[in-house]
Symmetry: C2
Subunit: 132 residues, 2 copies
């Protein structure tokens, strides 16, 4: 059986995020699993690392590719990626979930369309943050 | 202590790779660890998954971010990413190592410069394949 190589990869740099949210690998891991489920992806396994004096990385292996976060809590910065293969799972939904949880003041994002030849680069619309 | 958020993220779609090279998570894992070392990164942990009937994913957690591969052996296709933070580790060296091992017929690549504000997108020069 052959599968489509088509995939979408959203890369987001998030700024102005609360230190404590970014400095807990355990918290981020739970949110990343929720994010994967939010876009309909299937989590196969998770790796995470709490860095000292601060910072965290979580890598989620999906049956549809991966979801990653790297944080610099002291700069309020997180670099987030969600890459999913196939038509049925939209990585933007996982990104939107994480943005709604982390509530960055500012995001910069690019979307790569992969697996079709030359990589296409788009600038995705990010969901506006609801300030409560 | 504060760290620079500056990072370079190289995303490569590789085509025309041998089925057997792409269909062994164990082989790819060993090559990914070599690739990380080739660019001077530090491997913290590794996740891998052998899919059925074919296909593999390897995610390497680096102290400087991550290295990933997703393969579709039946299409000769691999999607490779290397994202490294900081000035001292160049992700292109890890990518060049993997290309030299996998020997794709064709590659398409984009480089994202991250952690500085708007993501900058460049098209990196890929090392020519030595056809022996």
């Amino acid at each position: 059986m052959e599968y489509s190589t088509f995939g979408r990869h959203v890369a987001v740099d998030a700024w102005g995020v609360d230190f404590d949210l970014l400095n807990s690998a355990e918290y981020l891991q739970a949110q990343m699993v929720e994010a994967a489920e939010a876009c309909g992806a299937t989590v196969m396994s998770v790796q995470s690392k709490q860095f000292e004096p601060q910072g965290a990385t979580v890598l989620v292996l999906l049956s549809e590719s991966h979801l990653s976060i790297h944080t610099y809590p002291e700069r309020g910065f997180a670099a987030i990626d969600c890459y999913t293969c196939g038509e049925t799972v939209d990585p933007q939904l996982a990104i939107d979930y994480l943005v709604s949880v982390l509530k960055p003041e500012k995001t910069y994002a690019k979307k790569l369309v992969r697996g079709l030849g030359e990589l296409q680069v788009e600038t995705p619309e990010m969901q506006p943050i609801e300030l409560v």
